[in-house]
């Protein structure tokens, strides 16, 4: 297949995600509400009750990068796993029967999903800014959007890989609860990761979302516990690995 067809395939799948996204306004509002509740309520509650070890009050801006990371995770994982719905409602057959490369179909789906994830992440970033969270610089914000993109691609690849293997949409609920909650809770989105006990530290460091959240924290707030270069390296490797896996498993998928 030539490059033009490949690009058109990716664009077509992206376009479809965009049209669907623009028609699901209630879903967008729902997706924004959860992290904002966390930010406002947990943020206020935490800062009135806790002090960070080593001095200083807990700042609610600490939560913002974590919640942006969380919404990117939810949106992109959902975007990948939505293939299950495509199969359930039949549209998957339409894609599988088209004379196009499956890999570029998966890639287009991923780029579409990651765009919606980034839109949600950016909206949360903007709303957080309105409620008084300070970002260090404009360039930091742009870099933050880049981080959303890379980690979004990774999680979408994971979602596509899972969706390609799950037989029914019943399995989907289970995967979501066994995957999303641990990923979010073990990412350092809600607590500093500097002084964790050993077992928790291992789990947190094994979690790719940790590096996404830390990278966002670095670019948005100017400080992170894990080195930014390590974060970027892990995220890039994770994304390439996951999108390759997702593309490969999707290629073998049967309608």
């Amino acid at each position: 297949m030539d490059l033009g067809r490949a690009a058109q395939t990716v664009y077509t799948m992206w376009l479809r995600e965009m049209i669907r996204f623009s028609r699901s306004k209630s879903r967008i509002i729902g997706a924004l509400a959860t992290p904002l509740f966390f930010l406002v309520i947990l943020g206020t509650g935490f800062s009135s009750a806790f002090q960070v070890k080593g001095g200083g009050t807990f700042d609610k801006s600490y939560l913002a990068p974590g919640l942006i990371g969380m919404s990117v995770l939810f949106a992109s994982l959902m975007g990948g796993v939505s293939i299950i719905w495509d199969r359930e409602f039949g549209f998957l057959k339409e894609i599988l029967i088209a004379p196009v490369s499956r890999f570029f179909v998966a890639l287009g789906k991923a780029v579409g999903g990651v765009t919606t994830a980034m839109i949600q992440g950016v909206l949360i970033m903007i709303i957080a800014w309105f409620i008084g969270i300070h970002y260090v610089s404009f360039w930091g914000v742009l870099a933050g959007i880049g981080v959303m993109f890379i980690s979004g691609i990774g999680f979408i690849g994971l979602g596509i890989a899972i969706a390609s293997r799950i037989e029914s949409h019943e399995g989907f609920q289970m995967v979501m609860s066994f995957l999303t909650m641990p990923l979010v809770l073990l990412s350092g989105a809600f607590f500093p990761i500097a002084n964790l006990p050993g077992w928790l530290k291992v789990l947190v460091y094994a979690n790719p979302l940790t590096y996404g959240v830390e990278a966002l924290r670095y670019f948005l707030l100017g400080k992170s516990f894990i080195s930014i270069w390590l974060c970027i390296a892990v995220l890039v490797i994770f994304s390439i690995a996951m999108i390759s896996l997702g593309g490969k498993l999707f290629g073998k998928m049967r309608a």
Partner: protein, 332 residues
């Protein structure tokens, strides 16, 4: 290229069952070919293999000159498929569904626009084109799906049970479109159905398929002719007259076969409706009063029974019983 579709000994085995068993068919370009059989006969499996959705376990098939396994992409470019269940994106409008399809098949913007207009008007959906598909009725969705299958000018169109679950009026409509497509646009069509009437009305040739094998293949007319003609049933007032009437018909030679039973006479003839006046004239000439006359044309149902030993509905019923049995045994 002599044939639009040519299979030789194509076979598909799933773990325990052989869904399609050594089927060889040749469909000419421009032909409207029907696969008739009960649910579970292997029709959909055959279409899935021909449309590159699944790979055969044995044998081979060429669609528009391309091998379905080795040249799957070329096959895909040349075919349109309308599956049994909807494969539309119901969150998009009809037009968007068509447009995305055109993009996936590499049509440029101008071609997409023109094609969209053409296929929409063909299935008479132009006015509802910009409405979300979710609000469509079952018949509209099927029409849109046929339209979409035609977007990229396929040479061969596969229709899997195109009127399943539609009301009679919509069914007639869809038959019209299929007919029009085949006659006016010259699209080769392979359709599966378990409706006798559908196969009879639409198809140039029919393959009756049962347990994964072809049991008969010919034009609907020839299939029916093989049964020996139409059956006219005469009901007489007096059973005594039956023998006399039978022999007078035999002597006349206008009938293929005649039998009597109680007060009824069964006559097998060609062109039954044209023979009725003559048959009645003979009886009144013989002075035998007739209470009623009925004419029955052999249907594909009769053909099906002839070849498989049962009506096409029988198997479905037993299929349902099987499901019921499975549910019951699971509860235990």
């Amino acid at each position: 290229m002599l044939y639009a579709i040519e299979t030789s000994g194509i076979t598909k085995r799933f773990e325990e069952v052989t869904a399609v068993n050594n089927i060889s068919i040749s469909v000419r370009p421009g032909e409207l070919f029907g696969l008739l059989g009960p649910n579970g006969a292997g029709k959909t499996t055959l279409i899935n293999m021909l449309s590159t959705m699944i790979e055969p376990s044995g044998g081979s098939a060429l669609v528009w000159g391309h091998d379905v396994v080795k040249e799957a992409d070329l096959v895909r470019q040349n075919i349109g498929v309308v599956f049994q269940d909807t494969t539309l994106d119901d969150r998009l409008t009809g037009r968007e569904n068509l447009d995305l399809h055109g993009r996936l098949y590499g049509l440029d913007g101008k071609t997409r626009k023109n094609r969209t207009q053409d296929v929409l008007s063909l299935v008479e959906l132009t006015e509802r084109a910009d409405v979300i598909v979710k609000t469509y009725s079952g018949g509209m969705m099927r029409r849109l799906e046929i339209a979409r299958g035609l977007m990229h000018h396929p040479h061969v169109l596969f229709l899997d049970e195109p009127t399943l679950g539609l009301d009679p009026q919509t069914r007639l409509h869809i038959w019209d479109y299929i007919h029009k497509l085949n006659r006016e646009q010259g699209v080769t069509i392979l359709l599966t159905t378990h409706y006798m009437e559908e196969a009879d009305r639409l198809c140039d040739r029919i393959a009756i398929i049962d347990y994964g094998q072809i049991v008969a293949l010919d034009t609907p007319q020839e299939l029916k002719n093989m049964l020996g003609g139409d059956v006219i049933t005469l009901e007489l007032e007096d059973p005594e007259d039956v023998g006399k009437l039978c022999s007078s018909y035999q002597k006349d030679g206008c009938v293929n076969m005649v039998t009597g039973k109680q007060n009824e006479v069964f006559i097998t003839v060609n062109n039954g409706e044209r023979q009725i006046p003559h048959i009645l004239a003979l009886s009144s000439h013989a002075g035998i009063p007739i209470l009623s006359v009925s004419l029955r044309k052999p249907t594909l149902d009769d053909v099906f029974i002839h070849y498989t030993g049962r009506a096409i509905r029988d198997k479905e019923v037993s299929g349902m019983e099987e499901v019921g049995y499975k549910i019951r045994s699971r509860r235990k």
